[in-house]
């Protein structure tokens, strides 16, 4: 009988211990805070140059990465004057994997003067689920150009294919 009570006591104690552990773990799972920035963001942070791709005679590439420029001939507009009709042309909506990309190109005097995004990926609904997992220890800094020589460079090209596809279909409509 004594043994019986002793083991019950042990089990109950353990159960209480587990519950307590879980509770305190839950308490630690509060909303995370991005280690807040004591950095003053530079004032020119938003590039106000709206016209992409900006067309210039003989400009061979409107692609914005040096890497991409190699395939510019087939995919980006070579803007010889008069190649395109004036007007505003809406491209097809192209799948950029995590959402659609759709562009609208404006042509004036045969040149592309503006490209606007009518649609780009948006999804913010499940924030809480991601944030509530644990307390991250994130840090921040203002980005700064580095002078180091590197062997290779990592950068985004994710939506370029969808962008090119949508722009191309807009320009197909604009073609004389």
């Amino acid at each position: 009988m004594k043994k019986y009570f002793a083991s019950i006591l042990l089990i109950v104690t353990f159960a209480i211990f587990v519950v307590f552990q879980q509770k305190s773990a839950d308490n630690n799972n509060g909303a995370p805070s991005l280690a807040s920035t004591d950095i003053t963001p530079s004032s020119d942070s938003v590039n106000s140059n709206t016209s992409f791709p900006q067309s210039k005679p003989n400009s061979s590439s409107t692609s914005s990465t040096p890497n991409n420029s190699t395939n510019s001939s087939s995919t980006t507009p070579q803007t010889n004057t008069g190649r395109y009709k004036n007007g505003t042309f809406t491209g097809t909506s192209a799948d950029a994997y995590y959402g659609n990309v759709q562009v609208q190109a404006t042509v004036k005097n045969g040149k592309i003067t503006d490209v606007q995004f009518l649609d780009h990926p948006q999804d913010r609904s499940r924030s809480m689920m991601i944030n509530n997992q644990s307390m991250p220890m994130l840090r921040s800094e203002a980005i700064q150009a580095q002078s180091a020589n590197v062997d290779a460079v990592s950068g985004a090209t994710m939506t370029s294919e969808a962008f090119i596809q949508s722009l191309q279909s807009a320009l197909d409509q604009a073609a004389n």
Partner: protein, 251 residues
């Protein structure tokens, strides 16, 4: 020895440091990427993925590679709270996972040929191995999304994979007319370092889709480190990211 070719709509660079018995190895790698493009490109009507989307091919007849990619996509979907989802409007687009997977398979082919020191880069995603031609670990930059001629970080990698997901147009003056109140802290790019390029790529893609929460998601996975850049030109990075950063030394 280094070569760059345009495949899968992006430049693919292979640099091999080891003494080569034959340059045929480069052809083998590029041939492999060509096969991947033929199978997985949603922009080609004759690809296996397009035929699956047009219901010309039924599940039992999917290739081994296709099944592997679909399994990986399903796994990533689960691990990312459904943020990573290759299905949209009833059509499959696995391009968010194929690139990293293909780079890793290509790296395995080099290793099988006894090559230890190399890197493979496809459209900004990189698998490193061993050391560079100077006998040092690979030095990899993170591109400045606001000025593509610059890098904003120099990292030291050897064996890891690094992938960046983002949209360069967000760095410009763009707004979504359906949602004009997009916050200024919008994420421009997120770079993820992982144990290999497949892990880095699939989680970079998932994290980017999460917006500014993406960096928390990366922080919560101990095998990954991340560097997220927002529209204020402020970077937020994970707690152990700095162990990969090349310290500024005047040399």
């Amino acid at each position: 020895m280094k070569q760059t070719k345009l495949l899968m709509n992006m430049p693919i660079t292979v640099e091999i440091v080891d003494q080569l018995k034959s340059k045929v190895i480069f052809d083998k790698i590029y041939e492999y990427f060509r096969e991947v493009e033929c199978r997985f490109s949603v922009f080609r009507k004759d690809s296996e993925i397009s035929k699956i989307n047009s219901k010309e091919i039924e599940h039992p007849k999917y290739s081994h590679e296709m099944k592997e990619i679909l399994d990986l996509a399903e796994k990533t979907k689960r691990e990312s709270f459904d943020y990573f989802d290759i299905e949209r409007n009833g059509r499959l687009n696995p391009s968010g996972i194929v690139k990293g997977w293909a780079i890793l398979q290509a790296a395995k082919k080099l290793e099988a040929d006894g090559i230890k020191n190399f890197y493979i880069e496809a459209g900004g995603d990189i698998q490193t191995s061993g050391v560079n031609s100077e006998g040092k670990k690979w030095q990899v930059g993170i591109r400045n999304p606001f000025d593509h001629t610059q890098i904003v970080k120099a990292l030291i990698l050897s064996g890891e994979g690094i992938a960046t997901s983002g949209t360069y147009h967000r760095g410009q003056h763009i707004y979504n007319p359906f949602n004009p109140t997009v916050p200024l802290t919008e994420t421009v790019s997120i770079t993820v370092i992982g144990p290999n390029i497949l892990e880095a790529d699939r989680f970079a893609t998932a994290a980017f889709a999460m917006g500014k929460d993406g960096i928390n998601f990366i922080e919560n996975r101990p095998e990954l480190e991340g560097y997220m850049i927002d529209q204020r030109k402020v970077a937020t990075f994970t707690s152990n990211f700095e162990r990969y950063v090349k310290q500024n030394v005047f040399a």
